[in-house]
């Protein structure tokens, strides 16, 4: 008998009979209802607190609302649930200079130290994205393993001249220290890990997105995160971790300036339709032919986690972060037609 067979049979034999629990389903539903009532009360209290913070901050600072550092509108500064060290300051673009955090640091290990207790996705050198407010505190070792499993590489020499987001993963440790890994989703797509380079940064980025989404399925967002006062059609940054199922508020945009708030009942229709009719962009029927579309509409949204989303109008529907395309069904199209009607 192999170890695996022995283990299978041993475990099956070892487990006791489950106790008789006829009220299990009812108890679970009651527990869900109690949890929901608590969340609703917290939301009301939180919304009031956030409104005060936003109003106060608006007077004190004139920040660009699209800036990843413009936190108060997302209530990021009060999110202490995960007790993780904050992101380092975002790099400031200085021609010809690179932030030391985005370069190899001699004397440091060339792998992420084990036993990290948290990891945050932060803005790096590149185009801006909406930084998630929450840190990853479950399965952190998965990200550590993923990065340390990447191939070590030489310093980049000749790279494609494209441009895209740059990011940092800031690992937190029990003693309060941090270890920052820096990646670029453009050029040579290299990852700077301590004193060396690894290839490639896309893998670590995708792993973080996947695991954080998984953590969110069993976590609760900070109360008040899903409602903001500055949802604007001029918004240009989007979250890499947001999913359409979490959208709580949105505006329909015709061009850059005209935004129509989407009423909650209509937004529900759209979100439900997105769940049904979203697929990979590569399979959305473009047939490899480059179409020129006059669709300048877009939907700018915020999720229950405070993430910003931009659904950009395209030939076959709306493009969503992560190479996805939403092709609205008849019911959703009716809602969109009404939102785009002159006079709204």
């Amino acid at each position: 008998m192999t170890d695996e067979q022995w283990l299978r049979e041993g475990l099956a034999d070892a487990v006791p009979e489950a106790p008789n629990a006829p009220e299990r389903a009812g108890a679970a539903r009651n527990r869900a209802a109690r949890s929901r009532r608590r969340a609703t009360a917290a939301t009301l209290a939180g919304a009031a607190a956030v409104a005060v913070v936003v109003a106060g901050t608006a007077l004190a600072f004139q920040r660009n609302p699209d800036s990843p550092a413009a936190g108060p509108a997302k209530a990021t500064d009060t999110r202490s649930t995960y007790d993780a060290p904050p992101c380092p300051p975002a790099p400031r673009p200085v021609p010809g200079q690179q932030d030391p955090l985005d370069q190899p640091r001699p004397g440091q290990p060339d792998a992420v130290p084990e036993d990290a207790t948290s990891v945050r996705l932060c803005q790096g050198e590149g185009t801006s994205f909406d930084v998630p407010s929450d840190a990853l505190v479950n399965s952190v070792s998965t990200i550590v393993d993923e990065i340390n499993g990447l191939r070590k590489s030489d310093p980049p020499e000749v790279c494609p001249e494209d441009y895209g987001p740059g990011y940092r993963l800031s690992f937190g440790y029990a003693d309060g220290s941090t270890f920052v890994v820096s990646g670029r989703l453009y050029g040579c797509r290299e990852l700077v890990v301590g004193s060396g380079y690894r290839s490639d940064a896309t893998v670590a980025w995708q792993a973080f997105v996947k695991v954080l989404r998984g953590q969110r399925e069993t976590s609760t967002p900070l109360a008040g995160s899903g409602t903001v006062d500055d949802l604007s059609c001029a918004s240009t940054v989007a979250s890499p971790v947001a999913v359409t199922a979490d959208i709580t508020q949105a505006v329909y945009c015709r061009g850059e300036d005209v935004g129509v708030p989407i009423p909650s009942d209509q937004l529900q229709v759209l979100v439900a339709d997105m769940a049904e009719n979203t697929g990979s962009s590569s399979s959305s029927g473009s047939s490899g032919v480059l179409h020129v579309c006059a669709n300048r509409s877009k939907i700018v949204a915020v999720t229950s986690w405070g993430d910003r989303m931009i659904l950009q109008g395209a030939c076959h529907g709306f493009m969503i972060e992560g190479d996805q395309t939403w092709t609205p069904g008849p019911g959703a199209q009716q809602v969109l037609d009404a939102l785009s009607a002159p006079g709204r």
Partner: protein, 175 residues
């Protein structure tokens, strides 16, 4: 502007009846997995009810066909979160808090569960999913939200640890 709640529990009796039927049919199986994770009757029931409470809101969205994998994933990630937040105050121990009694050869089984209890939580979760739930490596990775490579390495470490567990070695030495 009004906020929209994206996951809404079904208000109708149909949803509640469907959820109740699911729990009646599969609740015991979930409890057995939870027991292997916690080694405690009460914690296992608490874990199952917590997972069901978290999942109930998604009943209409996920549907009956996909609900069991969904609940299982919530159960295992909740288990991981309990450990991370140390809510339960559980501590490593050389003695099992409970044992599966009333069955023949119970010493062997007790020793296996005791050895299992000494594994790190991630490895224990992988062992339960792979060898009790009989999931594939890919399915296990999906439930835990990790890569297949992580499942493979965790499985390998867990099997190595079980092979060298003093409890199981003593048992073999006795044979």
């Amino acid at each position: 502007m009004d906020a929209v709640v994206s996951e809404r529990p079904a208000a109708g009796h149909d949803a509640a009846a469907g959820f109740d039927a699911f729990v009646a049919a599969r609740g015991d199986a979930l409890w057995r997995s939870a027991w292997l994770l916690t080694c405690d009757h009460q914690l296992a029931e608490d874990l199952v009810q917590t997972a069901l409470a978290k999942s109930w809101r998604a009943w209409t969205r996920v549907g009956p066909e996909g609900f069991e994998p969904y609940v299982r994933r919530v159960l295992f990630t909740t288990y991981a979160a309990w450990w991370r937040r140390k809510w339960r105050g559980e501590r490593p121990t050389g003695e099992l808090p409970e044992q599966a009694g009333g069955q023949p050869d119970s010493d062997t089984r007790r020793d296996l569960v005791a050895a299992l209890a000494t594994l790190p939580r991630g490895q224990r979760a992988v062992v339960v999913l792979r060898y009790f739930e009989d999931l594939t490596e890919a399915e296990t990775a999906d439930v835990l939200g990790v890569t297949v490579g992580t499942v493979k390495s965790q499985t390998s470490r867990a099997l190595a640890a079980l092979r060298t567990s003093p409890r199981l070695r003593e048992e073999n030495d006795d044979d």
